[in-house]
């Protein structure tokens, strides 16, 4: 069996009925990793021994008739290298953490460990999740399995690409401004950013705390629901975690309403920046949805032109503070002192040399942007103004959701761009987040699923956004859509 064509749910069913063992599954994907990983620079850390040990434990438990085993026990998962794990390094794609091993597991990791999901390894990402192309990683650019000259998108590019290359059936990403959805769209897979606070951030190296959210990536929405059942829920270790009872995402997956109201955002569908092929794919998706019971109408989010500007003030401000701890004093990289010269202030010199050498250009750019925007005299004009705009953006969504149940639109304005194409033009790169940052600013659940391919064969993604805590509804409608088009796991054809 070629397991790269199986969904996580399918693998789960085969494991439960003992048609296959977790060890066989792990070995299968390990062999694919050894064959294809190098070409696409997807995993930055794979520990064969560890994954086989974890798989063997699950097999032993299943053979012993352990009825406590969850649905995903034995289903291997790839983890974005931004989540703290005790048994693998957590590099954040940065020189700073190249050798850093966390002394504790983050909450999501602990939950997956308890659920018996073996770690396939850690996946490539933009340094500290700052980027939209997985090009800022110290491990080098990730390559898109659909076209190795193109980027995977980012920052969870490795997690998207490992699915597209068929190297793992399930992956975990993080999404601060689109970092799950945009690479999912570029790589032709599904990715879900839950409602802010639905999944614990404890143990996720912070980029922008008020925007960061962990979420699953897979081929099928059904797989995302299975993963959400494991990773979501209130966490007393995360003060911003929501206390609300979590629904059964898998149990309710087929309960999409017979009729639902779909909003199409005028500012997005009619924007000049939207690629015509992407637009066509979205319009076709809307037709499918109409057949699924959707009442489609146009809505307006008048402040959507301020999404990217507001985001690129708030996220760098928080990042500039969150990344202060990387100073060489207590952990991670520390620059060697200058030979021979006796410094007037060795401490300041240690800080500046360490941070100058430890961070890459994009991370430095964002730290400087944030530091500037928070500085006395600029705070009101930038940070405070951005917070006010953020409030207006939320109000836009609230108003839109009075008339519709879900928003449907493009995940990205374009398909995957070429490696190196935008790396020297930060503004062009930031515009990749045009349609995705709204959900982060407003804390909404948002899903990207594949909805077609361009003429040259590059994947296109459609985005579904719901009201806060309507995660289940978003997944239900995404699932209904995949059923309607008969979607199957579709990894890229690799030579």
């Amino acid at each position: 069996m070629e397991w790269q064509f199986a969904s996580a749910a399918e693998i789960s069913r085969q494991l439960c009925s003992k048609q296959v063992s977790a060890t066989e599954i792990a070995k299968y994907f390990l062999s694919r990793i050894s064959k294809h990983n190098q070409a696409f620079n997807i995993f930055v850390h794979v520990d064969e021994e560890l994954v086989l040990k974890q798989a063997a434990e699950i097999d032993a438990r299943r053979a012993g008739g352990d009825i406590e085993l969850g649905a995903l026990a034995g289903v291997p998962v790839a983890i974005k290298d931004l989540l703290c794990t005790t048994d693998m390094p957590t590099t954040c794609g940065s020189r700073f953490c190249e050798k850093y091993v966390s002394p504790y597991d983050g909450t999501v990791i602990a939950k997956m460990r308890a659920a018996g999901m073996p770690w396939m390894g850690k996946t490539n990402l933009d340094e500290f999740a700052m980027g939209g192309s997985t090009e800022t990683s110290i491990f080098g650019a990730g390559r898109n399995p659909w076209d190795a000259q193109r980027t995977t998108g980012g920052s969870s590019g490795g997690s998207a690409a490992c699915l597209a290359a068929g190297l793992a059936p399930l992956a975990i990403g993080t999404d601060t401004g689109g970092s799950i959805r945009q690479p999912a769209a570029f790589c032709g897979v599904s990715g879900f950013k839950p409602t802010y606070g639905r999944v614990s951030r404890y143990g996720v190296v912070a980029f922008a705390s008020s925007l960061d959210q962990v979420g699953p990536m897979a081929h099928m929405v059904e797989d995302l629901a299975l993963a959400m059942d494991v990773i979501s829920g209130h966490d007393p270790l995360d003060s911003t975690s929501l206390p609300h009872e979590k629904p059964g995402y898998t149990a309710s997956l087929s309960q999409a309403p017979q009729r639902f109201r779909v909003g199409v955002v005028r500012e997005q569908i009619e924007s000049d920046g939207l690629n015509a092929e992407v637009k066509q794919a979205i319009l076709r998706t809307l037709d499918v949805l109409k057949e699924c019971g959707a009442d489609v109408r146009e809505v307006s989010l008048p402040h959507s032109k301020y999404w990217v500007p507001a985001y690129y003030v708030i996220a760098p401000c928080e990042a500039s503070s969150n990344l202060s701890r990387f100073d060489g004093a207590h952990f991670g990289f520390r620059a060697e002192p200058l030979e021979g010269k006796k410094s007037k202030s060795p401490l300041v010199e240690m800080y500046s040399r360490t941070r100058a050498q430890g961070f890459g250009a994009e991370v430095k750019r964002r730290i400087m942007l944030g530091t500037y925007a928070l500085s006395s005299g600029y705070y009101d004009a930038y940070y405070l103004k951005a917070l006010q705009v953020r409030r207006l953006i939320r109000q836009d969504f609230d108003r839109a959701f009075e008339d519709v149940d879900i928003l449907v639109g493009p995940t990205t304005p374009n398909t995957a761009f070429k490696i190196g194409e935008k790396v020297d033009d930060p503004v062009q790169m930031y515009l990749e987040d045009l349609y995705t940052v709204g959900a982060n600013l407003a804390g909404l659940p948002a899903l990207s699923v594949p909805c077609g391919r361009s003429q040259v064969g590059l994947p296109i993604g459609v985005q579904f956004q719901g009201r806060p805590l309507d995660d289940a509804l978003v997944l239900q409608i995404g699932h209904r859509y995949q059923q309607a088009i008969g979607w199957r796991p579709t990894p890229a054809p690799l030579s």
């Binding site: 957590t90 966390s102 912070a206 705390s209 995360d238 003060s239 911003t240 990387f326 207590h330």
Partner: protein, 493 residues
């Protein structure tokens, strides 16, 4: 002070470590004196991915303190990050409160029972919660530039209390700190141990000098490293005269020189320049996105108010009114803290005459505690036994002087009652005729003393007391003296 050609102006910033069991944003213990870096976790180490969770007890303590300081308690407060780099600050920012402190305004009244200064009201600007930093230990022995960091303290809750510049002398500053410390101890929110750093104080100081009918202010200095009340008093005295000398030298007024931070050197008895700030540091405060704002309801505040204990100022007044203690005596007991106040009241409730209990506490109990460096509990002399002893003295079963013997006997044997101690010491009342006979004998045997007394030396008879005690240890010295005088004065001898 009155003679000084200037007014000394002092404002204080007091950092109070709250005595929560665990830290402000994690579950690590706050216990003092443990081996370095043994009370740490990913949160207070500032490790990547770790997140803070508020310890609500710190809010309760801050509210309690704010209410006792007559402050306004904010019903909505939030947490802000104060960004700066220092090795004892592992996250690179301190979680603090910037524009919405939990307590605003308020005041504390101070006075001196000996009248060293006029009673005054010291106003507060604010009090806010923040996390403490770790401790840096610099080993500079033999040119080594080795620094070590202990993060046990990092994350301990601090309440930073800032006063208006209302204090006018080192004595007032010391009295203010003493009263504030007493209040915090009453409230049971802090250990207030300056040596261990659970109470820390910085002072902002300058002089207001009358010049040609106007007042000129000298540049403000901030004095740090004040590790005892005595250090506060000495440092302020020193700094006042230093600023005066400086002014006489250069006549530079406020604004003419950057604000200085000076450290107090307790050994040399001087303040030394630590740094000069050209402009205010930019800490880039912004709301901490990892924490949610704290809201307090009227019910929360009502409950906290209801749970407040009687505060020292109220107790002082009540002791004067209820027990007719002198203000000075009331102050001595109250200023010793809640334990002694409760001890006093338990003794009175058990029937001890208040004034006598008060004087026994001040003269005997406090002296012993001081000599033995013990606490009341360690001393092991219950308030009920003190009540019994003072009752016996009041009833005349034993005089004050033999009372001390009874006290000593009872101290040695915790099971011994007053009656048993009196009996063991052979104390019995001496009847008046017996005492009269004793005095006659004494006078007959001491013609010299009698003559001296007659010659006008009133103290001459004092020498007879010892002899009287030898003849009968139960003879009340005062009665003996009075009787002897009567006998001589009436011409009976």
């Amino acid at each position: 002070m009155n003679a000084a050609p200037y007014t000394l102006v002092i404002g204080l910033e007091v950092h109070v470590q709250l005595k929560t069991k665990s830290k402000l944003f994690c579950r690590c213990s706050t216990e003092f004196g443990r081996p370095p870096n043994t009370q740490v976790c990913p949160v207070c180490l500032g490790l990547p991915g770790a997140l803070p969770v508020l310890n609500r007890q710190a809010i309760d303590y801050a509210v309690r303190t704010g209410l006792a300081l007559n402050s306004e308690i904010a019903k909505f407060t939030k947490w802000d990050r104060k960004n700066y780099f220092y090795p004892d600050l592992p996250k690179g920012y301190q979680t603090s409160q910037f524009d919405l402190p939990i307590c605003s305004r308020g005041f504390l009244d101070i006075s001196d029972s000996k009248g060293a200064f006029e009673p005054k009201r010291v106003r507060f600007i604010r009090a806010h919660l923040e996390e403490d930093a770790g401790k840096s230990m610099h080993d500079e022995v033999a040119g080594k530039a080795d620094s070590r960091i202990d993060l046990n303290r990092a994350g301990t809750p601090l309440l930073e209390i800032v006063t208006e510049p209302d204090l006018r002398s080192p004595q007032e500053a010391k009295a203010f700190l003493t009263e504030l410390r007493l209040l915090l101890l009453y409230l049971d929110v802090s250990d207030c141990n300056m040596q261990e750093g659970s109470l820390r104080c910085d002072a902002n100081v300058n002089l207001h000098i009358p010049v040609d009918g106007k007042t000129v202010a000298t540049p403000i200095t901030e004095i740090k490293n004040l590790n005892s009340f005595r250090a506060v008093e000495r440092a302020l005295t020193y700094e006042a005269s230093r600023q005066w000398d400086q002014w006489c030298n250069d006549h530079i007024a406020i604004g003419g020189r950057p604000k200085q931070t000076r450290g107090w050197d307790d050994v040399q008895g001087v303040t030394t320049l630590q740094r000069e700030k050209e402009e205010a540091s930019d800490y880039r405060y912004f709301p901490c996105p990892d924490l949610v704002p704290v809201t307090l309801t009227d019910a929360d505040l009502g409950k906290a108010r209801g749970e407040l204990c009687e505060l020292p100022a109220a107790t002082r007044t009540r002791f004067v009114q209820q027990y007719e203690l002198k203000e000075y005596d009331s102050d001595v007991i109250v200023s010793q803290g809640r334990e002694l106040v409760e001890y006093f009241e338990r003794a009175v409730v058990a029937g001890g005459p208040a004034k006598r209990v008060s004087s026994w506490i001040q003269q005997d109990i406090l002296r012993l505690l001081n000599e033995r460096q013990q606490s009341l509990t360690q001393l092991g002399f219950s308030a009920e036994r003190l009540a019994d002893l003072t009752k016996a003295i009041e009833a005349g079963a034993v005089d004050t002087s033999r009372g001390k013997e009874v006290f000593a006997k009872m101290l040695d044997d915790a099971a011994l009652s007053v009656a048993a101690a009196i009996e063991a010491l052979g104390i019995k009342a001496v009847d008046d005729s017996e005492l009269m006979e004793l005095c006659r004998q004494l006078l007959a045997e001491n013609a010299k003393a009698v003559n001296e007394y007659r010659a006008g030396n009133a103290k001459a008879l004092g020498a007879l007391i010892g002899q009287a005690k030898k003849k009968n240890p139960n003879a009340d010295p005062r009665k003996v003296q009075d009787l002897c005088k009567q006998l001589i004065d009436s011409g009976a001898v």
